[in-house]
């Protein structure tokens, strides 16, 4: 058997019908995750055609995007602030009931952001194909799954057939050598990778992150890296499962049990890319040379080391428009710029480790006057763990708001928004115009950097506070 990439092994194992020049492959989906925003029209399609959900045992629903994060609205009597959002949440409850789909409802202790709960529950497993009507489904690739976002029509296809029509993508190896320095995180690494290959550099490809700096990452860090693959244009990112992956999965509620676990582990151990397997393309990056990164523009590729200055050599109207939107000028340094809002959370950086990093900076300090800081756990499980460790107390004592889990300020559709013209340092994944609210100016950074900026009230190198 010729040497194969991990992607190739997973893809081939899920070909119900291989692709031909005239027809795409019929690809089997092991796990279909769904949420309230991209599913209503898909369930409506099933209803219109009189079709059932074919494999309810492979379908799992949660609510996160338009779900409120204020405790009073989740557990209290206060109604959901936005009428349309409330309707969407209730629609998912009805659809789940009608089609017998398992749903982590609003008050379920297992609820959370779809890309946080999959791994957390052990539903995400190496070698699986996983899809969701959400582009950050790439997150699940951190465990060695082939996981990618799909549109609502395709959500309907998977609900009805458990399969998708797909053309086989190409592969791109991202070789990361060296080791991240103190205060430099997986978020800084993926921002640097996107800066290097560009926001369309991964189009048509599945990325495999590999090399010593990747093996040294924790599972949460690997998820942060794979999460943002889509920001480089790639639909999926993968990291080979290793002993750490197995340790992470052991004991999770939805892992295989007994003899099934042993058989699964044997399969997972053979997933890694074979020595000598060919990728369609390859990039290299040295983790040791990286510094904390921060974005300055309106896409994640407009990024620089935090001590750097905004480029001044670009003669490009799009670049100029992005800077005008941000209220920045070419050549300006990033350090010292005023910050109005700080958001720690999202499927990129809303896991326990991210909250621990945030608390490490906030402990014994206060959020600067005039800065609003929101800390939103990625799931209810993360929330409970953070509270048990006393992190919530640290956040509150520092003057930050501590919320129920959800997408929150990552995208402005659940009531949590950044005001027009305000500058927000956010641990989320998109700094697009208007992403966090109409006219909001978003700077993407790590939890360390976000917390440091909150304390200083201005852009600050987190290494000064560690």
């Amino acid at each position: 058997m010729p040497a194969r990439t991990m992607f190739d092994k997973v893809w081939t194992a899920h070909e119900v019908v291989p692709e031909t020049p005239d027809t795409p492959a019929v690809l089997y989906v092991d796990l279909h995750l769904t949420h309230e925003v991209t599913s209503p029209q898909a369930f409506a399609l099933l209803r219109a055609r009189g079709l059932p959900v074919r494999r309810t045992d492979r379908t799992l629903a949660t609510m996160d995007h338009s779900t409120p994060t204020r405790t009073e609205q989740v557990f209290g009597d206060e109604p959901i602030g936005l009428t349309d959002a409330a309707r969407q949440v209730h629609q998912l409850e009805e659809n789940a009931k009608e089609f017998a789909v398992e749903l982590f409802g609003l008050r379920d202790p297992r609820r959370g952001i779809v890309h946080v709960i999959g791994p957390e529950q052990g539903a995400t497993q190496p070698g699986m194909t996983i899809v969701c009507g959400d582009s950050h489904t790439s997150t699940h690739g951190a465990l060695g799954a082939l996981a990618f976002g799909i549109g609502t029509t395709e959500v309907g296809h998977v609900l009805a057939t458990q399969c998708l029509l797909q053309r086989k993508p190409k592969t791109l190896a991202v070789e990361v050598g060296g080791r991240l320095g103190a205060g430099v995180t997986a978020k800084d690494l993926i921002l640097a990778i996107i800066g290097k290959i560009g926001v369309s550099g991964g189009t048509g490809h599945v990325l495999e992150y590999r090399g010593p700096a990747i093996s040294a990452l924790s599972m949460a860090e690997r998820m942060t890296v794979c999460n943002m693959s889509i920001e480089a244009g790639a639909r999926a990112g993968m990291i080979a499962p290793d002993e750490l992956t197995l340790e992470y999965l052991a004991g999770r509620p939805r892992r295989p049990r007994g003899a099934d676990w042993d058989a699964a582990v044997a399969g997972w151990r053979s997933l890694a890319t074979d020595p000598g397997a060919a990728f369609d393309s390859r990039v290299e990056i040295d983790a040791s040379a990286l510094e904390p990164m921060i974005t300055y523009g309106t896409n994640p590729g407009m990024v620089l080391p935090i001590g750097g200055a905004i480029p001044s050599d670009r003669d490009d109207p799009v670049f100029e428009r992005a800077l005008a939107y941000m209220g920045f000028r070419p050549g300006e340094p990033m350090l010292g710029k005023r910050v109005d809002v700080v958001f720690v959370g999202s499927c990129t950086n809303g896991r326990l480790e991210d909250l621990q990093a945030t608390a490490q900076i906030l402990r014994g300090r206060r959020v600067a006057p005039g800065v609003r800081m929101l800390v939103v756990p990625g799931s209810q499980e993360v929330k409970r763990e953070a509270e048990a460790l006393g992190l919530a107390e640290v956040f509150r004592a520092a003057g930050a708001e501590w919320r129920e889990s959800g997408c929150s300020m990552c995208l402005g559709m659940n009531g949590d928004t950044v005001p027009a013209g305000a500058t927000s340092v956010s641990t989320s994944n998109r700094n697009f115009e208007g992403r966090q609210g109409v006219g909001a100016r978003t700077l993407l950074a790590s939890p360390y950097t976000a917390a440091a900026c909150a304390v200083a009230g201005k852009i600050t190198d987190p290494r000064d506070l560690l």
Binding site: Q41, D134, G151, S200, I230, G233
Partner: protein
């Protein structure tokens, strides 16, 4: 889905690169549970002032944009989220094709499923189109060619299966359902 064979229309030009799905339709409009009426929200933050009135300088608000079915956009159109609301909004507004040098993967896939043609052209043709807003262009899906007003034709790539489905109005779900026996065999053979 309506079959689509040939389009002839003037163009609307948005030269910006990396026009993302949050610009095409901001997240606050995603709380719908149907597909209809989203054309109102298309490019909302670029199109309307904060009081809801149309911004006269935005290209879709200019009189010459009325009735155009072809959007010519900068490189990497549709990057970002998987929201199918983006092509729904474009189609509901009246667009039937997007022309660029690169179109993001998920957006392209979603567009094809909604009768919105993603047309990738070479940089020279693209530059000409960007420099000539309102040009009368023909997109021929049967020949997979885009014709400029002077009759110059350029081929564009499109997946053969997607082309077949668009030309004949075939819906992909019907095709997938016809594969159910193979899907059942796969499940039995692979313990799924």
């Amino acid at each position: 889905m309506e079959p689509i064979k040939r389009l002839r229309s003037t163009t609307v030009v948005m030269p910006s690169t990396n026009i993302d799905t949050d610009q095409i339709i901001p997240a606050r409009y995603l709380t719908v549970t149907t597909k209809t009426g989203l054309g109102q929200a298309l490019f909302a933050d670029l199109r309307y002032a904060s009081d809801g009135t149309p911004k006269p300088e935005f290209v879709l608000n200019r009189p010459e944009a009325a009735g155009s079915q072809i959007l010519v956009a900068g490189h990497n159109f549709g990057c970002g989220s998987s929201r199918e609301h983006a092509p729904w909004a474009l189609v509901d507004y009246g667009f039937r094709a997007v022309v660029s040098t690169a179109i993001a993967d998920i957006f392209k896939s979603n567009a094809l499923k909604n009768g919105l043609l993603p047309v990738i052209v070479d940089p020279t043709t693209h530059r000409w189109l960007l420099e000539h807003p309102g040009a009368l262009v023909t997109i021929d899906l049967e020949a997979t060619e885009l014709a400029l007003p002077d009759g110059h034709r350029v081929a564009f790539p499109i997946d053969g299966f997607a082309r077949h489905c668009l030309l004949h109005g075939v819906d992909e779900l019907g095709y997938l359902l016809s594969q159910l026996p193979a899907i059942e065999r796969y499940e039995a053979a692979h313990g799924r």
